[in-house]
Amino acid sequence: MTTNAPALWILAPFGFGVLLLFIRNARAVSLLGGTLALLLALTAQFIPIETALRFGELSVKIDSSISILGRVLLISPAEGSLLALIYAGSSLWFFGSLAAERSTRVVPIGLMITALMVAALAVQPFLYAALFIEMAILISIPMLSSLYTTPGKGIVRFLIYQTLAMPFILLAGWLLAGVEASPGDLALAAQSASVLGLGFAFLLAIFPLYNWIPMLMEESPPFTVGFLLWILPTITIIFGAGFLDRYSWIRSSPQLISALQSAGLLMVTTGGLWAAFQRHFGRIMAYASVAETGFSILALSVDSRLGIPILFLLIPARALTLALWSLALTIIKENAETLRFSSARGMLRNTPFAATGIILATLSTGAFPLLASFPPRLALWENISRASSTSAIWMGIGIAGFLVSAVRSLAVLAMADEFASWKPRENLPQMIMLGLGMIGLFILGLFPQTAQIFLAQLPLMFEHLGR
């Protein structure tokens, strides 16, 4: 029996996502979607592509490619672990959606978005990825805004900025091909690098194009935005790393390294500083996501033999932190109406798990020891400080911003009236999901090697980076 990888990890989940749109039972949608994502992750991790496996009389082989309209969707054997990571992260959100009570929106559309993002990584030529990412953006709009709520400015800016990225990336791909053909043309190289930079600046919401993220966190359900803030930048960063891997002149350009480092530091520092002064829990998470992207960009700027493993180590930490954070915010929003400090004051007594989840997620973003983001941040900080101590100080300022933000959040959440009693309002699934998320943060922080089952093979997907 022969099947092929794109059909299994792109077409099947996309089709399943469409089918789930017709199911109204939130629990069934969450369990079906989460289970499918988990199965896809396990299959990707443990069943090799392009290798025949024998089960008694039955022989199974997964082909790596499928041809569509003259082009190819190709999932190479080395990308199995990446697929496992992506679908495992998605399953985290899909199971969590049950506790967040957002299953009927997040799971079907989330599955379709995940499939499209995998297609973005699989399509050949690889620069067509921009088209699949744009389709994922368009599909995400109904997830962010219902027909019964007036859309705010954040969603419109999100749509504009992400859509503008697509032409820049496609044009850059064409220009880069020209540079490959005539490597001595410095003007063309500069033009293509600028166009490519603009495209990624829009796509990754690089400073100052990230103003839609805090707006969106205020306007839309935190759990939904959290999912997008995880999957979109994660896949886009890997797509961007693909550019570095393919074009040696970009990879070896000192100007690019310097630009990546400056952009990453700007995002980490401004993200941390702005987070420290916010009075809205959603906006703090928004700036944390900005900083997370900054850390990933910084990882691309250091020596790729160290930077690429750090980049991949950041992915599970980001997934777990944002999943826990967005679920906790959803629960607090249910109980406090808004996520402003003034409304959520003293919520530790009503939603102890959610409040603890927010504090731990903020601390994790701030590289607090024992938590998930600490190992990759520490490794990154060490590498950055070797190159420039000034850069390390700026990174430290960003991290300190999140620690200040965590202390302020703790103060607000704990600041109940003097005789207010403890009245936990979280239900059992919410407590279980939050509890598991918090345990996960500690496991990743204390034993980062547990993630190596997914991460060890990942650098093999690049031909040059990380070698």
């Binding site: 309209l69 003259g70 709009i141 109904p142 007036t150 044009l171 064409w174």
Partner: protein, 197 residues
Amino acid sequence: MNILVWVAVIIVLITSVGLLIARDWRIGIIFLAAQYLAMFILLLPHLPLGMASVKVVTGWMSSAILGMTRSDLREDDTEENLWPRGRLFSLFAAGMVVLIVAGATPAVNNIMADAGMAVTAGGLLLVGSGLLHLGITSQILRVTQGLLTVIAGFEIIYSSVESSALVVALLVTINLGLALVGSYLMLASQHREPETP
């Protein structure tokens, strides 16, 4: 063909400026549909007739989707939300775009494998006017029109270097998707919380 292509550029100029200054949404939709006709002519030097036709039909479908949705909405809620509101300002800004496009066309034409001056000018005009549109409005119908205009301009320029069926299919899907998303957001923006007695 050469004259026809330059006529298309003039149509693009008229429609893109018209989109900027039109206050009535019906006229805006008509300009958008006419813009796709001009786009069709500008695509013909580089794309087969079939592919160019697919794009123009998709553009008209997008215009129809937006028009049909808008026609169902209340008039009072969709007042013009342009800033600054003056037509003179819009004309001045459009003039700036035309000047910039005139200056940039030879260089871009050179980069884009000699796509043709008219094709490059038409594409750049659409991109420039679409960006201008996005910069001065936050009304959802106009934002959608602006994005569709930018993508139409990009498609014209990109067609000179890429004519893959997959890219055409995906861009067509994106155009339709944008129109549907615009309609969805327009419908959502009409929603009002029920008044409490």
